[in-house]
């Protein structure tokens, strides 16, 4: 029996922020990993492989959003067998991926915490068509006022009951975005919820929060929610805002020179991006 060839060692690790947008939000995690593997090959990025008879490319994912959920802040890490300019990788990989899986940022990983450890919380928007803003405001206020909101979800291990409230640090209506859809008289009202949810076990997902809103206020949107993850990262306890999880890897310090978590906020693109995201689904 032939021995598998010894793998070429990893000489550079890259951390990548990518988005899944539009119709590609229906990709599953497995779909994305297949697409990324093929794109890496097409782009000629010297990806490292695992040892053994069926070598796998060294690409790992952190906190992937569920099928059907759009995201502006997904993260993966690639091990390379040769060093490459992160800016080149960003362009090459983005070109090789189908439009809708878009590469937003690539940095060289520095020693220290893993990317998964930095993803303490997520910021989400949930677009709901056919919901009047007042109803949504009432529901979110009732939800945030509650100490605990137990919801049920069908998991692989059966029906599970857990608290959906404590993981939610903020939840409200996105100001200025809650509006009527379309301009003519047939337009339906639409509201966009915005929330920051901490990473917990079991994970509290946006649809769990919606279940919680139904629980506390009978909130029942008539159409399926359009969920978008705007950001993931360390949660600043003082501001309640998320910071960029790639900042600790950046070689140049963020503006202000002080690389503590709070100051990373200045380079945080999530706020700027969010309006586009919402606007991309008219």
């Amino acid at each position: 029996m032939p021995e598998g060839p010894a793998p070429v060692p990893v000489t550079q690790r890259l951390r990548v922020r990518y988005a899944k947008r539009g119709r590609l939000r229906f990709t599953s995690h497995r779909d994305i990993s297949r697409a990324v593997e093929r794109a890496v090959r097409r782009a000629g990025i010297p990806v490292a492989h695992s040892a053994g008879f069926t070598p796998h490319p060294k690409i790992s994912y952190a906190g992937a959003a569920a099928t059907g959920v759009a995201s502006e802040a997904e993260y993966l890490e690639i091990g390379l067998t040769a060093t490459r300019d992160p800016a080149w990788v960003r362009t090459a990989l983005d070109e090789a991926l189908p439009s809708g899986l878009d590469i937003l940022d690539v940095v060289v990983a520095r020693a220290g915490t893993s990317i998964a450890d930095r993803l303490e919380a997520s910021e989400w928007t949930i677009r709901l068509d056919g919901v009047a803003p007042d109803t949504a405001v009432e529901a979110t206020e009732a939800f945030m006022a509650a100490a605990e909101v137990e919801v049920e979800r069908l998991t692989k291990k059966g029906l599970r009951r857990f608290d959906a409230r404590s993981a939610v640090s903020t939840c409200g209506i996105q100001p200025g975005e809650s509006d009527r859809r379309g301009s003519d008289e047939t337009a339906v009202p639409c509201v966009i919820l915005r929330m920051v949810v901490r990473q917990t076990t079991p994970a509290v997902r946006p649809d769990d929060v919606l279940a919680g809103l139904r629980q506390v206020a009978g909130f029942a949107p008539p159409s399926p929610p359009l969920v978008t993850r705007l950001a993931q990262g360390p949660l600043n306890a003082d501001t309640g805002e998320l910071t960029d999880p790639l900042d600790p890897d950046r070689e140049t310090e963020p503006p202000g020179g002080d690389a503590t978590a709070g100051h990373g906020l200045a380079s945080m693109p999530a706020g700027a991006v969010s309006a586009d995201v919402v606007g991309a689904h008219p």
């Binding site: 599953s28 779909d31 090959r41 069926t54 189908p98």
Partner: protein
Amino acid sequence: MPIESIFPRLEPLLPTVQKPIQYVGGELNSQVKDWDEAEVRWALMYPDAYEVGLPNQGVQILYEILNEREGVLAERTYSVWPDLEALMRKHAIPQFTVDAHRPVGAFDVLGVSFATELGYTNLLTALDLAGIPLRAADRTDEHPIVLAGGHAAFNPEPIADFLDAAVLGDGEQVALAITEVIREWRREGEPGGRDELLLRLAKSGGVYVPRFYDVSYLPDGRIQRVVPNRPGVPWRIVKHTVMDLDEWPYPKKPLVPLAETVHERFSVEIFRGCTRGCRFCQAGMITRPVRERSITTIGDMVETGLKESGIDEVGLLSLSSADHSEIGDIAKGLADRYEGTNTSLSLPSTRVDAFNITLANELSRGGRRSGLTFAPEGGSERMRKVINKMVTEDDLIRTVTTAYENGWRQVKLYFMCGLPTEEDEDVLAIAGMARRVIKAGREATGRRDIRCTVSIGGFVPKPHTPFQWAAQADHETVDRRLRALKDTLRRDREYGKSIGLRYHDGKPSIIEGLLSRGDRRVGDVIRAVWEAGGRFDGWSEHFSYERWAAAAETAFAEQPVDLAWYTTRERDEVEVLPWDHLDAGLDREWLWQDWQDAVDGTEVEDCRWTPCYDCGVCPTMDTEIQIGPTGKKLLPLTVVR
């Protein structure tokens, strides 16, 4: 007229259906052309789920060839699963293409590729969702021409009522020819409407338009004759044969889906046709003669395909890949080129031949040697003579011994059950063969972890083969023989545990038999099954034998025919077969003689290396065997990385 995307209406439904990604399109190398700039618009359908349909070579080839042409647009559509079908009906969303989500009803041609007859009910679902009348006779100038192709189209009679036209054989050139006929008719201002267009296609001799042929029946149910009912329409419709595969190196830019599909590899067809002469094999009969793609074109296609797709697995596709005249050099050349690049190479269809182990070793260089598949097809020597599968049990044992010695641990063997003249002992002989395989493997390696999997399919007699006259075995017989085989293997204490057995019950084969050799009267059965909810008949979890049997019972109540008449009845030489007016080039007398030879156990050699045995294809179709060797070699690639 502007054609709008239905996607905004589809999108809200997608979160609630299984695997929504299959409906969104956006595959790498897919394309969306401007609707208004196109003169001729094709919707290409594979009538099964996306995961099965997307990798289909035929659809990918035609998609690329048509889209390359100026003024021609092609998009793809697949069967939607029942969960989405229900929602589409509720929200009045029509059958759509995945490329631009345009309604299928707006295209000029709906070209459907039938690899199997079990897709017929899915055709009806698609037509109905598209708003196209099921019966071709009810369609107007506004509806697309519904055109069938693929192997099942060599007897399209069971779906003749639902088709406007069918084409036989290789699609590359005829798809373009049809496009030109439509374009010209359109430029002339569409004279005579749909009828005139179909007549022009029929007169070309290469397009079968069922409505221009009348079928009459004898009192006992057999066909009396099939006669053209329009002047200028030919008596026989001939198949199409592409004669230089090097001139048609498609797919150049393979479609790479986001969704997972049944074949996660880039396939290069290394030759078309097969003259091994296996008598059960419809593909081998209707795709003659053998036409090889040259080693250099194959090398170029693999290189371009890998570059364009990013896929890491290449399959060298054909009906019997090891038979390519330069397969050794191809395997070695590709293995040299891609060594160390984590690209895997495979030869999906292998014959029982020790040379294949050398090939498999070459292709798996440095990789894991897990399993090899061989297809003896018949369990006994006698049975293999009947089907002209010229391989002895000693050949097989020699081959698998070599395989085990070379580090392969698992051998898979394919067989058929229900073959003409088969007796119980022929099927039980499979157990003896499998035992010898394990024994040989243990002796060759000194190990106990040798495995052999026996996979058995039910035999279905197919049109245009020597077995087109044969009685199909009833499902009770097939099931009894398979049970006896299973019991024999289970009782074997020495080898039984090393032998896996995979088979299905015999009922689906009977329905496949009805659809394969059926005539126009079977159309009512298909429609009744579809109306009773029949969908995805190729999937065991959706297939219902009872539904088909009940529909046949009702549809044939007033007829002198029934399900058994179409399946388990042997035909005689003079009976008019439903596909006799459709010409695959095979001489009917030769086919009959080969059927007689089968019963006698007389074998026929391959005409690639023995003299022509007059099957009739080359002279009738004005074609010839195209094989190498070219003497060329694959040079090393300059690898950039």
